[in-house]
Structure formats: structure tokens, C-alpha cells
Symmetry: C2
Subunit: 784 residues, 2 copies
């Protein structure tokens, strides 16, 4: 039942990882840098395209300035926070100062890499949008060119995600060898923490602008989306980039980094030295195949839609990955576990499979999971399938039935996704044949299997905001007409589906990474118990497994609290969007009222003011959910102990998985139901059915683009915080703590911070604007 | 760490429970029958009131007939199902045939009691509604009389709930003595299973009628609620009774019975014989104080609102309960654990507290929890508080913001409720001072503390549908005017809040009962392991606690699946309402179209047809969620084993608690936001704000009255099924199973049934009516 004791791992640092193995890791690092080179090539290709008319360029520049201003201000705010965490990490237990400093340093590296990935993806996206729009000016034949520019822009984000993620992890292994696990924790934590803030902040920005723009523009004034008279349009387009583009890239970078971290920590325990290499080889293969995938997305004559080309890119790279991984497993790994230095003799007897088959099947599970989740998400969110058609049909009986059917669809689809992920975890678990540490490594390897598809996935996702922006620029400038405009609409619809698919796969990586990190947590707990001394080995084992026995009431309480954090986080994120959107509504209304020239087109609205409001509000609003994620595990761990903390994580993972998919798919379905009506079903634009689906879409906006995707980094941050504090919590739990008072203080402090942050966010709970003043200024529809 | 081994409990059946103890139990049974006597007196008082005009009586008779027809048909359907379960239960392991037969027999008793409680409460409610309306004809001074009739009607349901629950449990103890636990499992299962079906079926009926009536009446035709021209009005009023009244009474009866069952099973293990008596004394005291509470609800001159009187009834009975329980604990229980025959000597050394203080504090936790949850729910759903005011304010920016703010409110309030319940469980756990079985008994005792308030709670809840119906009858007949109508509106608003409070407390009882049942599950597992033989005691303990170690991937999978069942169940319930409401919409539209006389009042609509549709559809729709609840634990247990089954329950409890409160409070807040606008805020009736809140209320209907409250019996049914199959699952898990093939068959069968049921419910996923035909018949708003 027990894996290798990590004590052996920690104490083995005098034995060096063999030179041959390090050579492989160096090759991986070189491949990772190669990915950045490919990215540079793609950037040149994208920037070489035509920028369109003056008017288009002007709009693009406004978006570029807004996006850069937001990210700069966000990074400045987060830098202070990161510096604080840098020093706090130093205080946490480690074997020596080498580990402590490495952990803190690589925490910063992880955070910076996460930021860079997001920034670069966005930097290019705000330059490519106008080029896609310009390409569409050529009319009907322009689809292929426009699509290629958009997808290659995504390719840059994809290459940065995998390149930096792989390079960072390889660097840690090269520099720290056997000490790598502790340092990797720091790297993963930096990546996850920054990604969470970028996800939450970007998510609030984009949806505040979007919802605000829709409420005044479409609903109150009856002007179309992206109409230049709406002061929130530039902010809306900026939001697509800072949220869907920078936020998502950082998020997937974080998934990438954290999965690698978990695989390397567990790999060392299960496979010995080879376990520090093989989990790097798999994603390195993914880098190579991602390049193939990105270049394969050349639309062909026979394609039904833009989606066909993207699907081809995905499946081509998945199949090539699988073949190459099989080759790598059989070339690199030995045929017997006894030739690896991971498992104990007793365990090798219990598990007589071929490690090459073991590794290959585990990776296969991950790749297949990615493909199946892609199909499932497509089924529930594409306009051609029955679920969205059914939701659209309910628009005939008004907005209430649209909301209800969308919520039911989301709840149900979440269950299928959860069952699929469960089957994958269970499959990996069975590969371990009862040896828990090996089972956990199999889960982590399945995670690296998923990672082989991440390059293409990020490219697919970035495709969304770029084509959305392109349509926005075309609409605002009025310089793209006829067939060209139709091409952009088609690309936008394809982007909606790719965005939904990315979210499905992102949450799958989150569950696999979190489950695997759980293994590291288990490890950390055992090490801490070992070091605490006093008890004999058997009693330690018993007392620990009792501690995490889920049928104990205190652990059930931990579990309920973990589920509660997911609910609270989602509620806070949705509320934050409502509040920020209220401020946008107020500003846009105000501009319409004080400058009558805007409506007749003789005067331009002040776009910058709305961008400023979104920037200010989203940065203020991200504090509460962010602090909640960091502080909740500390509060639970130091108050309730090690068992409830484990159950807390389990509760968060279980509820978080379902909630994330529910929010993403409900939102995606509503978005596409609206598109169906706009395409002419049930009365088309302007009908009651259209109004009903617009309401559904507005509800879905913060679901799918703020709360839902942020749950992914939330789970990882909470897992990593727990991993970092586990040794300290164990000491407290078994009463061997010399710093009891300090820990109690930490618990009390965490609770106070959470309560304070929630209270702070409630202070301004007015959603409509600045209270009654606004109420008088804006007559209700009936009165108007 | 270990409590007394239940093997001792099982084998002790030759030692008889002392005569003195049985005397106490007989007294409890007499008190329980006394409660039924009080109910008879209340019935006489209610029926003695004036029945109003002919026209009012005619409407009341239509409601009575519809309600009786539905329940009769439901009971006929469920009788077949219950007969099947009766024989299946015989097949499950037990010590002897005496236990087997007792368990099956008392399964039927539990089911029949549950049905009777629901039926009687409803029988009186459909007779009292017209009397309340008639009383209101007296005008301004009629509030007190009307309120008294409504609340005493609820009192009958309350007395039946506590009377039958207590009588059933006492009877089992009297008849089976030491064998009681196994038989009690049957009793609890019968109560929970029937309650779940009544909850789901009644919930679908009431909301299909309500949503259908609103969609055609308020939204399409612009006629007020309860307008006699709407063919769905009678069905709507019938629904209030079969859902909110019969369904809720059965549900709380089930909570009552299951909590008692858990307390008695654990009481035997922790307190010995006294543990089979004390958990009956506490609710017996609750019966006495409930009578006081019900008679205390006499409105006084100084009362701010009807709510003041109801609050007084609740708090008076809670305080008296506490004083009497203190008395009972100090008179009945000894001052040392060594004077009880529950704990082992070793455990007594570890726990040196006074058992009387232990018991009193545990009960106190439950009573305080009930009071605090009442306040919390009130805060989030009352119109005078900030949360609902904020939701109402968002109606200025349209339905989308109303939905978003209501969802955020629900998510957040669920977290506070979960934290409160967690604190209560943790408090009880700490009372156990490390002895798990004692901690679990403390949780169960806290549950019995909650139970002391159930009599008043049911009375409060039934108040809701009665006053709602009274308003409906007044509106339809047109015979209550001026001040009298205002009195009925006030009572209706009070009813909305009492209904929300009941749901909060119901879910709290669910968590406490489920946690305590968990203890029984733990017990059952140990017994089964003991009986399996082979391993020595220490290894058994270790292997078991390993089995339920939450950090193992297979257990995490179990947990995710448990959370998934809650999501699926909620999604199915919401979808069922949408589908059934679609059929109602179609029928009502059809009547308006084919009989033009209805609209101008020259012709009466055919109310009966809508009642028939609701009856047929709700009975068909309850099959899928019902089968899911029963089959899911079987599928998980027999496929994944005992650990994942435990984690499955934990995941369901964690997610279920949050989901239930979220759905209840979002729905309650939307309902009252609508009321606020109707009372004149933000433009009043007919304004855009009103339209927005109507949409919110319609979304909230299936949230708060179908999906949300059904989660409560869902958790209990899944727990009891797990408890019943636990011995068989253990045999399978430790490989000592002689019937492996049979069990695999059971697992496969369960999976097939679940998949089949879900597929079946999807077949007819059209929500609007009969497809495209309907689409052409009903022009969209824009076209009209």
C-alpha cells in the first residue's frame, strides 16, 4: 500500500542523478527554447500581414493601449504581493537554505513566466486582430488567410506556454537534481498564483465591459454589438484580450507547469531517477507535435466549416504524440521495475507489469481524455447539436425558460465530464495495482498526456478573442463589407466553440494535476511524521490513515468547507462582475445623456474612461477571491489539522470540477443559442426570442468567462498552499509543534483576512450604479 | 479511537433491555399518541370555522378533488414499488429471520407513516384554505382569526409528523429491544424513500402548474395571478398542497424518523441501554413544547407583522424544550460514563466528562443551530433586509442582472449555512474528545435537539400553502375585498418567509442525520469485517481506515461521483419541471385559442385537464431522479468498493448541503424581490422592473420548490441504501464474497437502470410543447 518514503528521496541528495539522464533533460530544455524560436517565426509571419485602413488601425491602437495599460497596472500591483510571498516562503520548513532560496527564487520564475506567457499572447493578439479584419476585406476567398493569421497568433501563445513551462521545469531539474521536488513546488505555486489573479482580474474586466456594453447598448438603446457609439466597445474588445487571451494563456501555462511539477515529484518516488526525466520527455514530444498541429491548420476545399481544420490540427498532433511517446517509452525505459530505482523490492513483487507499458497506457489515458472531453464539450455547446437547439427552442416561452434549460444543461453536462475524468483517474489508479504512489504517478502521467495537446489547445483558444476582436474592428470601422463580414462572423462562431472546448480540457488538467498533487501532499505528510519521531513506523501509518479517514465527522466538516470555498469563490466572482458592470452602465448612460452628439454620430464617446473604470474595478475586485484561495487552506489546516485539510482539498476538487464545467457549458450554450436566433431561427434579430437569448447570454457571460475558468487555478493554488504548509500542519496535529502559538496566530490571521475581505467586498454591493441618484436619472422601461 | 464494536451489540440480543428503561419508552409512545389526539382537537377547531360563499366553496372543492386524485394515483404507483423493495430487503444480510422480517415490515410502516403524514396535512389544508379566506371577509380585524386557522392547520401536520415519527421509533424499540438497530434501518428507509418520491413528484406538480400558469397568464396574456380565466389556476392551487404541504410534511417526517434512527443506533453503542431511551425522551419533550408553541401563536396588539407571532411560537417552544431536556438529562442519566454500559473501560478513561453535561450540550447545539439557521435564512430572504433589497434594485437593469445577483446571493448564503452546520458538527465532534463513536452520537443528539423544533417548523411551513391558497380562492371567487384582501396578502408574504426558513432547517437536519448515519455505516462496515474473519483485529482496523483514506485516488473518484449525483439530480428535477410546464403552457394556450369565451369571462376553462396533465407528467418525471437516488450507491459500492462508497456519501453530503441552500435561498430571494416590486418599489406592478423580477421568480420556482428541497431526502435515501448494502460491499471489498457474480450483476444492473432512466427522460426533451407545430401556432411576441 505504501509508496517509497520520501524521506529516502530527501536524504538521497548526496547521490547524483546520472549524467546520462541529465543529458536528456538538457535536450528537453533545448527543445523548449526551440519552441520559443518557432514562436518568433510565427510572430514575424503574423506581423507581416496587411494592417488595413487608417480607421481600422486607429481602433486597433486604442485596444492595444487599453490592454497594455491594464496589464502593466495589474503586474505592478501583483509585484508587491509576489515580493511578500517570496519572503513568506522562506519561512516555511525545508531541508536546507539551498532548498529554501531555490523555492522562493523559482516561485518568482514561475510567476514571471506565467505573466510573460499571458503578456506575449495578448501583445500579438491585439496586433493580429486588425490584420485578420484587413484580410477579410478581400471578400469570399479570404477565409483561409484570415483563419491562418488568427490561428498562428494563437500558435505563439501556445508555443510560449509549452516552451516556458517545459524550460522552467527542466531548469529546476538540471540545477537542483534530487532537491528538485521542493523547488518545483515553488515554481508551480508562482505559476498558479499569478495565473489565478490574471484569470480573475481579466475575467472581471472582460465581462464587466461586455455585460455593461450589452445592457446599455443592446437592451436600453437598441444599437447593435460593437457599435462605435457605445462608449464601452473599446473596453469590451480590450477585455477579450486581457481575459480570454492573457488570462487563459496564463491559466494553461499554470496547468502545464503544475502538472509537470506533480509528475516530477511523484516520478522520483515511483521510477527513481528516470521519473525525473520521462515526465519531461512526454511534453517535449508534445512541443514537436504542437508545431506540426499548428501548421496543419490549413483550411482545405472540402471543409464543412472552420472547425474542421482546427479539429484536424488537434487530432493530427494527438496521434503523432502517441506514436512518439510509445517510441520514447520503449527506447528510454527498462522492461522491469527492478531496473528502476523507485519502488521497494516488496512493491516490485506486487506489481509485475512492464514499466514501459505502464507509462504508455497512462499517457494514452490522458490523450484519449483530451479527445473525449473535446467531443463532449462540442456536443453540449455547438449550435448544430440537440442540447443548444433545445435551449434555443425554449426562447419561445421567454427568458425564464431559457435560463432554466441552460442551467439544467450545464448541470447535466458537468456530470458527464466528471464521470469521464473519474474514469480516467480510476484507469490510472488501476495501473498502480494497489501501490498508491505508483497509482498517483500514473495519474500524473495521464496529466502529461493531456499536456501534449496544450500547445494546440492554447492556439485554439486564442483564436477566439482574435476573431472576436477582428469582427469588432470591422464593425466599428465599417470598412469590411459583404462576403468579408460573413467570413468574420463565421470565424467568430468557430471561436466560441474553441473557447468552450479549451475550458473543458483546462478543468480536466486541473483535476489530474490536483489529484497528483494530492499524492505530493500525502508524501509531505509522511515525511513530516517521519521526521517528528516518537512513534514507531506502524503506529505512524495507522495514525495517519485514521487522520484522513473520511468517515470521521471532523474530516466531513473539512470536506464541506472545501465545497463551500468553491461556492463562495463563484458567488464573489459573479458579484464582482455585476458590480463592475454596474459602474460601466452608469458611465455609458452618462455619456449618452451629457453628449447628445454621440447618438447621431457627430461626436465620439470617451472610450478611455470606460477602460479606466474596468481596470480600476477589476483590480479592486480580484482581491477578495484571491485572498480567499490563499488563506482558506491555511485557516482550515491550522485550525482543524491534517485530516480535515486533506478532506478540504478533496471537497474543493469534487465540487470545483462540477461547478467549473457547469458554469462553462451553461454559458457556452446560451452564447450559441443567441447566435442561432441571430442566424434566423425563431424570428431572428429583434424578436422576443432574440431578447430572451440575449438575457441568457448576459447571465452566461460571468459564468463562462469569469467564475468558471477561475476555479481551475483556484484548485491548484489551494493544493499548492496545502502542500507548502503540510509539514507545519502535521507538527501541529501530532502535538509535536514547537511553534504552536505562531501557528494559531496564522490560523486566526487567515480567518480574519477572509472575513475582512468578504466584508470589504460586500460594502459596495450596489449593482446598478451609484444608488438612488442613478435610479432617478434612469427611468425604467415602463416609464420611458 | 474505536467505539464499542457493534459485534457486541449484535450478539447481546440475549440480554434484555431492563424493564425500567422500557417503561420510559412506553411513556414516550403514549406521548406520541397524545400528539395525534391533539391533532384531532385541532382538526375539529379548524373544520368548525365558516366556509364562506358558495363560489368559494366550489373552488375549494375543485382543489380538494384535484389534490386527492393526485395523491391517490401517486400512492397507487408507489405501492407497487414499495412491495418490490419489501422483498428485496429480505434478501439483504441480517443476523436472523426475525431481523429480516422486522426490517421489511417496518420499511412498510415507515413508508405508510410518511404517506399518512403527508396526506393528513394536505387533507386539512385543502379544507382550511377556504376557511381562512372566509375569515378574511370580516375585513381589517380578521387578521388574527385568519392567521390562527392557518397556523392550527399547520399544527395538525406538525403533530402528525412528530407523533407518528416518535411512535414508530418507540414501537421498534419496544418490540425489538437489542435487535432494534437493523429494524430501525428499515423504518428510516421506508420513511425516506416515500418522502423523496412525494417531494420530487409534488415539487414537479406544483412548479409545472405554477410556471405554466405564469408563462401564459402573466407573461403572454397579461392577466393577474390566480385569475379564474387561466385554466391552470386550480392546478396551481392543487400544486401548493401536494408539493409544499404533503411533500414537505413527508419530508420533515422523514428527517424526524431518520434522525431518531441514527440516534438510537449510535446511542446503543455509546450509552448502552440508556442510549435507546434518551434519544426518544428529547423529541418527546419536543412534542409537549410544540403543543405550547402552536397555541402560543396568538397574534398580539404590538406585533409588527404576522412573522412576530410565529417567531414567538418558535422561540417559546425552543426555550421550554431546553429547560425540560436539562431536567430529563439530570434526572435520567448517571453522572459517570462508567455507570452506563456503552463505552469500553479504556474509552471511559479517555473521556472523563459527565454524560449528563455531554448529552445536554449536544442537544443544546441542535436547538441553537435551528435558531441561528432561522435567523440566517430570514436575513437572506426577507424583504426588509439588504440582500433582497439589492436583488430588487438590480431589476432596474433588467432580468439578467436580477438572475445574476440572485444566484450570487444564493451561492454566498449557502456558504454561511454550510459554515454554521459545520461549526455545529465540529462542536458535537469535540464533545466526543477523540472517541469517534461518542462524537457521532453527539452529532445525532444535536439532531434530536433540532427535532424538538420540528412540530412548530412543520406548522410554520404548512402555513405557507394554506395562506397562498386562501389568497387564490379569494382572488378567483372575487368574494373577499378591501381590508380582507390586504390581510390575505400579508399572510401570503409571511408564508413565503416561513417556507424558506423551513427549508433551511430541513437541510440542517439532513446533514446532521446523514453525518450520524455515517456513523452507522462505519459500524456496519466494522461488523461485516469482524464477521468475515481471517485477519487479526489490528490489520482489520488498518485495512479499513486505509480503505476510507480520502487521499487515495479511487476514493477521490467516489467523492466526485457523489457530488455529481447531486448535480445530476438537480438538473433532472429542473428539466422535469420545464418539460411538464411546457405541456401546461400548451394546454392553456390551446384552451384560450379554441374557446374565445374564456377571455371575456362568458365561458369557464376546463381546469381538470391541466390537473390531469400535471398529475400524469409529475408521476412520469419522478421516476428518473428516484431511480438515480436508489441505484447510484449500489452502482458505486459494488463497482468501486467500500472506501469509494464512503467518499461518495461524503461528496454527496458536502455538495448537497450547499446546493440545497443555494437553490432554496436564490428562489426565496427572487420571490420576495418580486413582492417588493409589487408593493410599489421601482415602478410597481406592470413596470419593466416587475417584468424582470417575474422572470427571476419563475427561474426560482423549480429551484426552491422542486430541486432544492428534494436534495434533503436524496441524501438520506443514498445514506440508508449504503447502510443496507454495506455488509455485502465489505465482503466484496475484502475478497471474501461468496456471491461475487451476483454482486457484479447488481452493479451492472444499477448502471444500466441509471443510464436507461436518464436516457428515457431525455427522449422527450422538448420544452415548449409538441415541437414545431406549437411553434407555428404560437406567434412570438415580436410577430404578435
Amino acid at each position: 500500500m505504501s509508496g517509497i518514503h520520501p524521506s529516502e528521496l530527501q536524504l538521497a541528495s548526496d547521490v547524483s542523478v546520472s549524467g546520462g539522464n541529465i543529458t536528456y533533460v538538457v535536450i528537453v530544455a533545448v527543445i523548449a527554447l526551440g519552441a520559443l524560436g518557432v514562436a518568433a517565426g510565427l510572430v514575424r509571419q503574423v506581423l507581416g500581414a496587411d494592417e488595413g485602413t487608417d480607421s481600422m488601425r486607429r481602433i486597433a491602437v486604442a485596444i492595444q493601449e487599453g490592454a497594455a495599460a491594464y496589464l502593466t497596472r495589474q503586474f505592478r500591483t501583483l509585484a508587491v504581493f509576489a515580493a511578500g510571498v517570496f519572503f513568506l516562503l522562506m519561512l516555511l520548513p525545508a531541508d536546507d537554505w539551498n532548498q529554501r532560496i531555490g523555492r522562493s527564487l523559482f516561485f518568482l520564475v514561475g510567476a514571471v513566466f506565467s505573466a510573460v506567457t499571458g503578456y506575449v499572447g495578448m501583445w500579438l493578439a491585439v496586433r493580429s486582430n486588425v490584420r485578420v479584419a484587413a484580410a477579410a476585406r478581400a471578400g469570399a476567398g479570404s477565409r483561409d488567410t484570415a483563419m491562418r493569421i488568427a490561428f498562428r497568433t494563437g500558435g505563439v501563445a501556445g508555443m510560449f506556454t509549452v516552451g516556458l513551462g517545459l524550460f522552467g521545469a527542466a531548469l529546476v531539474v538540471i540545477l537542483y537534481r534530487e532537491n528538485a521536488p521542493k523547488v518545483l513546488e515553488g515554481f508551480g505555486f508562482g505559476a498558479a498564483l499569478l495565473a489565478m489573479f490574471m484569470r480573475v482580474g481579466g475575467g472581471i474586466f472582460t465581462k464587466a465591459a461586455d455585460v455593461g456594453a450589452d445592457l446599455v447598448g443592446k437592451v436600453e438603446q437598441g444599437i447593435p454589438e460593437d457599435d462605435p457609439r457605445n462608449a464601452a466597445t473599446i473596453a469590451d474588445n480590450v477585455g477579450d484580450n486581457v481575459g480570454d487571451c492573457a488570462g487563459m494563456a496564463a491559466d494553461l501555462f499554470e496547468s502545464y507547469a503544475v502538472t509537470l511539477v506533480a509528475a516530477l515529484i511523484l516520478g522520483k518516488a515511483a521510477f527513481g531517477d528516470a521519473g525525473l526525466v520521462f515526465p519531461l520527455i512526454v511534453p517535449a514530444i508534445g512541443v514537436l507535435t504542437a508545431v506540426v498541429g499548428i501548421y496543419t491548420v490549413a483550411p482545405r476545399a472540402g471543409d464543412r466549416s472552420g472547425m474542421s481544420a482546427i479539429n484536424r490540427g488537434f487530432f493530427v498532433s494527438a496521434v503523432i504524440s502517441l506514436v512518439l511517446v510509445a517510441g520514447a517509452a520503449f527506447l528510454y525505459l527498462p522492461s522491469k521495475f527492478s531496473d528502476l530505482d523507485g519502488l521497494t523490492d516488496q512493491e516490485i513483487l506486487a506489481h509485475d507489469a512492464d514499466p514501459r507499458v505502464f507509462a504508455l497506457v497512462a499517457v494514452l489515458i490522458g490523450i484519449v481524455l483530451a479527445a473525449v472531453i473535446q467531443q463532449l464539450t462540442g456536443y453540449f455547446t455547438e449550435t448544430s447539436r440537440r442540447p443548444v437547439r433545445d435551449v434555443t427552442k425554449t426562447s419561445l416561452t421567454g427568458p425564464a425558460t431559457v435560463i432554466l434549460s441552460g442551467i439544467a444543461l450545464g448541470l447535466e453536462s458537468a456530470v458527464y465530464a466528471a464521470v469521464l475524468i473519474s474514469v480516467a483517474v480510476l484507469g490510472a489508479y488501476l495501473l498502480g495495482a494497489g501501490i498508491v504512489m505508483l497509482a498517483l504517478f500514473a495519474v500524473a502521467l495521464a496529466g502529461t498526456g493531456l499536456l501534449t495537446t496544450v500547445g494546440v489547445i492554447v492556439a485554439m483558444d486564442t483564436f477566439g478573442p482574435v476573431s472576436d476582436n477582428a469582427q469588432g474592428i470591422a464593425e466599428m470601422s465599417g470598412d469590411v463589407e459583404g462576403e468579408g463580414a460573413r467570413v468574420l462572423t463565421e470565424l467568430d462562431a468557430v471561436g466560441n466553440t474553441t473557447k468552450a472546448i479549451t475550458k473543458g480540457i483546462a478543468i480536466a488538467t486541473a483535476v489530474l494535476a490536483a489529484t497528483a498533487l494530492y499524492g505530493s501532499y500525502r508524501d509531505a505528510v509522511r515525511t513530516a511524521v517521519d521526521e517528528a519521531g516518537g512513534l514507531d513506523a506502524a503506529s505512524k501509518l495507522t495514525s495517519l490513515s485514521f487522520a484522513t479517514d473520511i468517515t470521521q465527522p471532523n474530516n466531513l466538516v473539512g470536506l464541506i468547507l472545501g465545497a463551500a470555498v468553491v461556492f463562495l469563490f463563484s458567488g464573489l466572482a459573479i458579484n464582482a462582475v455585476s458590480r463592475a458592470a454596474g459602474a460601466v452602465v452608469f458611465e455609458v448612460r452618462n455619456q449618452f445623456r451629457t453628449r447628445p452628439g454621440i447618438m447621431d454620430g457627430s461626436e465620439l464617446p470617451e472610450y478611455g474612461r470606460v477602460v479606466d473604470i474596468c481596470t480600476r474595478d477589476s483590480l479592486r475586485e480580484l482581491a477578495t477571491p484571491g485572498l480567499l484561495a490563499v488563506m482558506a487552506p491555511i485557516a482550515v489546516g491550522f485550525t482543524l489539522g491534517i485530516g480535515p485539510l486533506a478532506a478540504f482539498l478533496a471537497g474543493a476538487i469534487g465540487t470545483g470540477t462540477l461547478m467549473a464545467v457547469f458554469l462553462a457549458n451553461s454559458g457556452g450554450a446560451w452564447d450559441n443559442a443567441k447566435k442561432m436566433v441571430e442566424d434566423g431561427d425563431y424570428g431572428g434579430k429583434g424578436s422576443a426570442a432574440h431578447e430572451a437569448t440575449i438575457i441568457g447570454d448576459t447571465v452566461g457571460d460571468p459564468f463562462k468567462d469569469t467564475a468558471g475558468p477561475a476555479i481551475n487555478p483556484l484548485l491548484k493554488v489551494m493544493n499548492l498552499v496545502s502542500l507548502l504548509i503540510a509539514p507545519a500542519v502535521v507538527k501541529l496535529s501530532i502535538g509535536a509543534d514547537e511553534n504552536g502559538a505562531l501557528r494559531a496566530l496564522a490560523a486566526a490571521f487567515s480567518v480574519v483576512v477572509i472575513v475582512g475581505a468578504v466584508w470589504y467586498s460586500k460594502r459596495k454591493s450596489v449593482v446598478v450604479g451609484d444608488g438612488d441618484q442613478d435610479r432617478e436619472e434612469q427611468p425604467t422601461k415602463a416609464a420611458a
